[in-house]
């Protein structure tokens, strides 16, 4: 499914204006390639002059979509142009990335992608693009922490006990994930790698059904984004052992980090970044980076991300340099793990 929504900089009700209903339900089906003006230096000087399309490779309402919509608003305000969010689902986000890679490099087509950008080269044999060569990075946006959770009546009470238990019962413990290439699968791979065990992986068609079976006690363990697990943890429906980022999460203050719990190598977060096609002029990338940096300081963005258990990337991280560095180090990190696990998506 793909549709888009226009974020008119001037029309957000929080800014004291209301929007007409249909006019702003602007679902765009415009092809990425016909989004805006032409390329070249003149175009770069005039940028931005027209709707900018943010392509989201996952479904509307999901965590990546939510993050995109959050930053699209203040970025649109800063750039002075409407930002249209398009959801281009399919093939683990590679369809969207392929489309943006092939789009006009004029800054009017921007890709939001997450950690999957760095794992796709290892998961897919026939990727129609190369993450490092076919894109310019704009900057990192945020990193959503992941939590290691279990069914409520799973025996181990603490992270340390869980580690012991899983090592001792590796042949019977089941580990749920939200499908091939999903963040929960990646985190699960890293967990098995860190513990040196091979568990029975139970793949689901998404987080919802996986979490349902975890709440119902059908599966033992899972690793998933705070976005998805916080509500269930707070209500005591599932048991949480640790959070996989360097710092504790505000909404789950009692949850230790994996580092505190003694497994520092288990560090994984769902990092998000913005990309444009490789031939995009640097001036345009600078415009976008600048707008991103402003958006990440927006109080509403900070508050809403905190609700998701995440924080905006720092100003230093929200740069092409830091982003490229993260992308290439993550590609190197995941490649051996995915290869060793024998996971492939095509």
């Amino acid at each position: 499914m793909r549709q888009g929504h226009s974020y008119d900089a001037a029309a957000h009700p929080r800014l004291g204006r209301t929007r007409p209903l249909i006019g702003l339900a602007a679902a765009t089906l415009t092809l990425a390639a016909c989004g805006g003006g032409g390329g070249g230096d003149d175009a770069a000087a005039a940028y931005p002059d027209g709707d900018i399309t943010f392509v989201v490779p996952f479904s509307a309402g999901g965590p990546t979509d939510t993050v995109t919509r959050l930053i699209a608003e203040p970025m649109s305000e800063e750039l002075g142009q409407p930002i249209v969010v398009q959801n281009v689902e399919g093939a683990g986000g590679t369809i969207a990335a392929g489309e943006v890679a092939a789009a006009e490099p004029d800054g009017y087509t921007v890709l939001m992608h997450h950690i999957g950008m760095s794992t796709a080269p290892s998961l897919y044999n026939n990727l129609p693009y190369a993450p490092l060569e076919d894109f310019k990075t704009v900057g990192l946006v945020t990193e959503v922490p992941m939590t290691i959770v279990a069914r409520q009546d799973f025996e181990p009470q603490t992270f340390e006990e869980m580690v012991e238990y899983v090592k001792a019962n590796a042949d019977t413990v089941t580990l749920a994930n939200a499908g091939v290439g999903a963040a929960s699968q990646l985190c699960g791979l890293l967990l098995q790698d860190a513990l040196g065990v091979k568990l029975t992986e139970v793949p689901y068609e998404g987080t919802g059904p996986a979490l349902t079976d975890l709440v119902a006690g059908e599966v033992d363990l899972m690793c998933d984004q705070t976005t998805n697990t916080t509500g269930q943890i707070q209500a005591g429906e599932i048991k949480a052992y640790a959070v996989t980022t360097a710092e504790r999460v505000e909404s789950l203050p009692d949850l230790p980090t994996t580092e505190e719990a003694g497994l520092p190598e288990l560090q994984v977060g769902v990092w998000h970044g913005l990309y444009v096609p490789a031939e995009t002029p640097d001036e345009i990338v600078q415009e976008l980076t600048g707008a991103l940096q402003v958006a990440l300081q927006d109080q509403n963005v900070i508050d809403q991300l905190a609700e998701l258990g995440a924080a905006p990337s720092s100003q230093e991280e929200a740069t092409p340099e830091a982003h490229t560095e993260r992308l290439s180090s993550q590609i190197d990190l995941w490649q051996p793990i995915i290869e060793e696990a024998g996971v492939s998506a095509d």
Binding site: R2, H5, G61, V180, P203, P209, T212, D303
Partner: protein, 500 residues
């Protein structure tokens, strides 16, 4: 707080002018997108999601929910009038609903759908209000093994959707199951039957299949030239139900509502199964099973009621546990997050005004829907007086745009052409398309639950028999199968058909 306090709080929230207005806008939009093939409720809700950023949380959810159950109403309209079902439940309605339209009884068919839906929506909402919390725990009793057994039962039930040969119906179901496997295997990521086309990784689209097998095939039949045109050859007799009609639909509506309310609670498979399990139950209990497939009003009343009851009760896992039953509920979870509400079991206690306001508004929305739809019946029926030479190109145009817009994927349009021809040929050869469509919908569920149950049990196939609920469902399925294919019974069935 007891139920009455909750309902009072809900009424207070739902009856504010803003919330009433957006409930109305939601159901009106839902009806509109339900009528058009292709653009389903999910796409529409996703489109409108950003507008709701600025609303109060409850207003936003009231509107989004309205689109969802509004679309359930709208979907039956095109199924009945032009044999063009937009989703799986409407495919069942099309079987007898379109036959009724051909017999000049489009009015009563639409009225039955509207009244049945309203009644079912009301009951579904009451179930939601009174039993949401205890019921939600029941839903968790269903693990992969139980779901697998439930889907098997559903598949067996779908044999009865066909009024002709049982073995042909079985073959159509199996072909549907196979078509459902096209796309990336969720367990391993292996793309299957995609011819290396990335566009097919997501699988075939239900709308393409339905538009092709039902809509295009029907157009080709009508262009054969032996008859002037099958669509409403007969003069429209009346718009409203007769006394006999009312008597005939009472039982089916009640049973459909009961089944739908129960099945809707089960995330994933329940809602899909509701409409056609109820259809096959009606065919089984009816004193006139031979009329099914030829315009039996029960065949419209039961699935429509079941579908709408299920649409209401499918909110139970979302509201009580924060667990999404399907992609639409997942979208509502997104709406929660955007509104700054952490979805989960605590929502019902932390945000009672939101939850109860939404529940009450669903009943109000159902009331709006019946007000909106009953007067529209006359208008819809008039649509049938459009010359066929204009109507069928319009169907092609709307279907192309609708299916293309789902994901800007041209393969969904090619699929209409492919399944149009396949449907036309198969129908000519006496194979009815409904079982194929249901096989297609249930295929991925069947495989998924089967493999998942076996993975979790570490390859122990006895899980399906040692879990009591699963065993009970399988025994029920076995009984249904025996009834469906037992030679003696079948002989009796064939006698019935030879008597025509």
């Amino acid at each position: 707080m007891d139920v009455w306090d909750n309902l009072a709080l809900g009424l207070e929230t739902a009856l504010t002018p803003t919330n009433l207005l957006f409930a109305l806008i939601g159901v009106a939009l839902g009806t509109a997108v339900g009528v058009l093939p292709g653009i389903g409720p999910t796409a529409t809700m996703a489109m409108l999601l950003p507008i709701t950023f600025g609303f109060e949380a409850v207003t936003s959810l009231i509107m989004l929910a309205g689109i969802y159950y509004g679309a359930q109403y709208g979907g039956s309209t095109t199924a009945i009038l032009i044999n063009l079902p937009g989703e799986s439940s409407a495919a069942v309605t099309a079987i007898d609903g379109h036959e009724m339209a051909k017999n000049g009884r489009a009015g009563p068919a639409l009225a039955t759908a509207a009244l049945g839906s309203f009644f079912a929506g009301t009951v579904g909402t009451i179930v939601l209000a009174l039993g949401a919390v205890p019921i939600s725990r029941l839903a968790l009793e269903f693990g992969p093994a139980e779901y697998f057994s439930l889907v098997v039962l559903g598949l067996i039930a779908s044999i009865t959707l066909a009024s002709g040969s049982t073995v042909k119906a079985l073959a159509m179901i199996v072909l549907g199951l196979l078509l459902g496997t096209v796309g990336q295997d969720i367990a391993t990521g292996t793309p299957r039957f995609t011819f290396g086309q990335r566009e097919l990784f997501g699988g075939l689209n239900f709308v393409s299949l339905a538009v092709g097998m039902f809509g295009v095939a029907e157009i080709l039949r009508n262009l054969e030239g032996t008859m002037t045109r099958s669509v409403v050859v007969e003069k429209v007799k009346n718009l409203w139900l007769t006394k006999t009609d009312f008597r005939r639909i009472t039982g089916p509506v009640l049973r459909g509502t009961g089944l739908g309310s129960a099945l809707g609670i089960l995330p994933g498979a329940g809602h899909v199964l509701a409409s056609f399990v109820s259809y096959s139950v009606e065919k089984r209990v009816s004193k006139r099973p031979e009329e099914f497939g030829k315009g039996a009003i029960e065949g419209v009343a039961a699935p429509e009621s079941a579908n709408n009851a299920a649409a209401q009760t499918s909110f139970i896992p979302l509201l009580t546990l924060g667990l999404p039953a399907n992609s639409i509920m997942a979208l509502l979870i997104g709406a929660f997050i955007i509104q700054g509400i952490t979805p989960g079991p605590n929502v019902i206690t932390d945000e009672p005004a939101l939850v109860w306001g939404l529940i009450v508004s669903m009943w109000i929305g159902n009331f709006f829907l019946v007000l909106l739809n009953l007067p529209l019946i006359g208008l819809w029926v008039k649509m049938l007086t459009i010359p066929y030479g204009v109507l069928f190109p319009a169907i092609i145009a709307f279907a192309s745009i609708g299916t293309y817009s789902i994901s800007l994927n041209a393969y969904h349009v090619y699929a209409i052409a492919f399944f149009g021809i396949l449907g036309y040929v198969l129908i000519k050869l006496g194979c009815e398309p409904a079982p194929l469509l249901l096989g297609f919908v249930l295929g991925p569920l069947l495989e998924r639950y089967l493999r998942r149950a076996l993975t979790i049990s570490q390859g122990d196939a006895t899980v399906f028999l040692t879990r009591p609920l699963s065993l009970a469902l399988l025994l029920l399925a076995a009984a249904a199968f025996v009834i469906a294919v037992l030679p003696a019974v079948r002989r009796k069935r064939e006698v019935v058909f030879e008597e025509e």
